[in-house]
Subunit: 430 residues, 2 copies
Amino acid sequence: MKKILYPGKEQWDSLTERPTLSYSDIEETVKLIFKEVQQKGNSAVKKYTSFFDGIQLEELEVSATEIEKAVNQLPEELKQAITIAKENITQFHAMQKKSKQEIETMEGVNCWIENKPIQKVGLYIPGGSAPLFSTVLMLAVPAKIAGCQEIVLCTPPDKEGNINPAILYAANLCGVTKIYKVGGIQAIAAMTFGTETIDKVYKIFGPGNQFVTVAKQVATQYNVAIDMPAGPSELLVFADNTANAEFVASDLLSQAEHGPDSQVILVTTSEKIQSSIQKEVKKQLEALPRKTIAAQAIENSKLIVVKDINEAIEFINLYAPEHFIVCSQDEEFFIDSIYNAGSVFIGNYTPESAGDYASGTNHTLPTNGYAKNYNGVNLQSFMKSITFQKISPKGIQNIGKTIEIMANAEGLDAHKNAVTLRLKSLGNEN
Amino acid sequence: MKKILYPGKEQWDSLTERPTLSYSDIEETVKLIFKEVQQKGNSAVKKYTSFFDGIQLEELEVSATEIEKAVNQLPEELKQAITIAKENITQFHAMQKKSKQEIETMEGVNCWIENKPIQKVGLYIPGGSAPLFSTVLMLAVPAKIAGCQEIVLCTPPDKEGNINPAILYAANLCGVTKIYKVGGIQAIAAMTFGTETIDKVYKIFGPGNQFVTVAKQVATQYNVAIDMPAGPSELLVFADNTANAEFVASDLLSQAEHGPDSQVILVTTSEKIQSSIQKEVKKQLEALPRKTIAAQAIENSKLIVVKDINEAIEFINLYAPEHFIVCSQDEEFFIDSIYNAGSVFIGNYTPESAGDYASGTNHTLPTNGYAKNYNGVNLQSFMKSITFQKISPKGIQNIGKTIEIMANAEGLDAHKNAVTLRLKSLGNEN
């Protein structure tokens, strides 16, 4: 852990820096696989599944029998936990539904804005050691509430060609339309172009390794939208003397176990709590099964002492953390003043794990400073708003002159003429 | 005009195709200028302003005196029109303000979502023959309502180093923080990296030629967000026998005058109205000052006759037009069934020009089929939502077990431990 006492502002830029990711090597591989999937469809997808995942698949789609088997196989306790989490996530995202907003800006000029679902969405769920069934909930629940017609899910198979049953259970529970045993670059390419089996989608969501991240960026060159750019996960905790050092340490470690490149930062106004937290981290680290991974992230973590809460919030807004935990007697100040963060966890009894799994908020959040300009996934991520206007004859008489003058000043005569013709037909001559 | 009668579905993909834009040549130039602006700041910006705009500038920032002069110089009639448009745009975007949404998902588990402005935004306004002061209104008004702290505007100077007074008037009226005489690639680079004079921004908005479009795409590689990908402007009109052929023709032409690559499409269920509109277009075209430009777009326009309104809406949703005019006795059907469009104009007295300038809706809209996955600029484009959660001791006791089970199933022990420690402190032992 790097202890940094009262850093001057000239140091802030370097303190908020994230590791630079170089994607140029990967990009070539990604473009190669994209081209092949675009041209050869399923056969290219199967070829790369065999190459990367070590399994030669006959069928890409998960069958009803496989889903049924997963449902039967999953421990009852886990099914219940998933169901409770789903219920909370549903409540939080259903609350975000917006009805049509309408206004008559001038007499006879009616304008409104209305949300419509994105019709086809693709969800990517990584495989590997940790089966992220929680991410299935975070993406499929809002997609369903939004009313997306097709919800496609891609996730890599294991060496026997199976998908983790918790992932299948969650996907089935949430109403995913189709589940495919496809991972990595070939999954993103398949959802971008479509194949004989896999339908092309309009927007791709979900986390992934660096290959998936670059593949999602490349997908945007083919008219597909993505949820957000990705980077390693991050946690910043602000703690003062009212914080529980043991709890804060456990939160820092839960971030650290994600991977050696996880970003872990403590900001505090108290050298005393800083020192207690540091001790607690060392103690708890020893007991962790993923100790080796967590130790590397903790090695690079920063414990920063600043002079007061004003300096603290200024630094935090500059850093723009993905996850921001506040354990402070001044929590109201931080709630009001935080501008750049993905999700905020308030008080000693609100661990990041709560939002990661079950409180109801979404865990797909902007990293790498993107909390300055992006939000996390929410209901609106699966929708887009269309504006409408309907103008009556009276309305065009009220607004027509304004349009004519502006169109004329911009040198667009046909724009003006479209109004002039209508005004003339109503007996208004210029 | 290409008349297409009852096309089979096998033709739909080619009918909805847009011109393919090749950016690879431009990208090299863009990256070169980006690198130079990143390294040399103002001096690089001035060098390229001299090169592209033919003027050697001393000061990049527009002075208070220049703004005052513009305000005095602008015709009173135009000032009034701009003020009326601004008022309508303000009403429509202020209506979109959202207050905090809060829910207790379980007893003691409080979650909420709240909008915060993006702190620094950059607006790009193209120069050239048509001074797009209307775009200043469309971007600066919602930025101000959102509460963005810094609203920077870049627009290229003319050969005398001046900015069109209507642009200055509108920018000043809407509360733009700083106006710079910088255009093209160097403007986007300056807002991406910042220079000695120009502040780095978090999100860049606004239209531009192909150089600006590619520059905005490159900017996204440097942690800057952009409003949306861009392409040539588009209009699709659905008209049946209740449509006024003269009016529809004037709308098609107002789209056509934007440029030779403008996309102009008529979809109809009536061969009779199709033929009347075709005649009207020819007639009105003759009288237009921008006739040469409009004629080229009209040459490539498509007049498509389909068998019924169901086929019509299916085609329209596949095309996903930027602007969609509906002149039909079945307007309610189209309002309900349209999923993919930027903005919709309803009835014979609602020309596209109304939304372009003054009805109140935003004219910065998705083109090139992006209406399938993006919306136009609205209030939310200048904001992002942060989620918050606060869990009480009672709350963590209610939700704790669920989190522990899920974290355990995903193999993330430190995540589980963050909850276990808190439960233990409350006397709940496992």
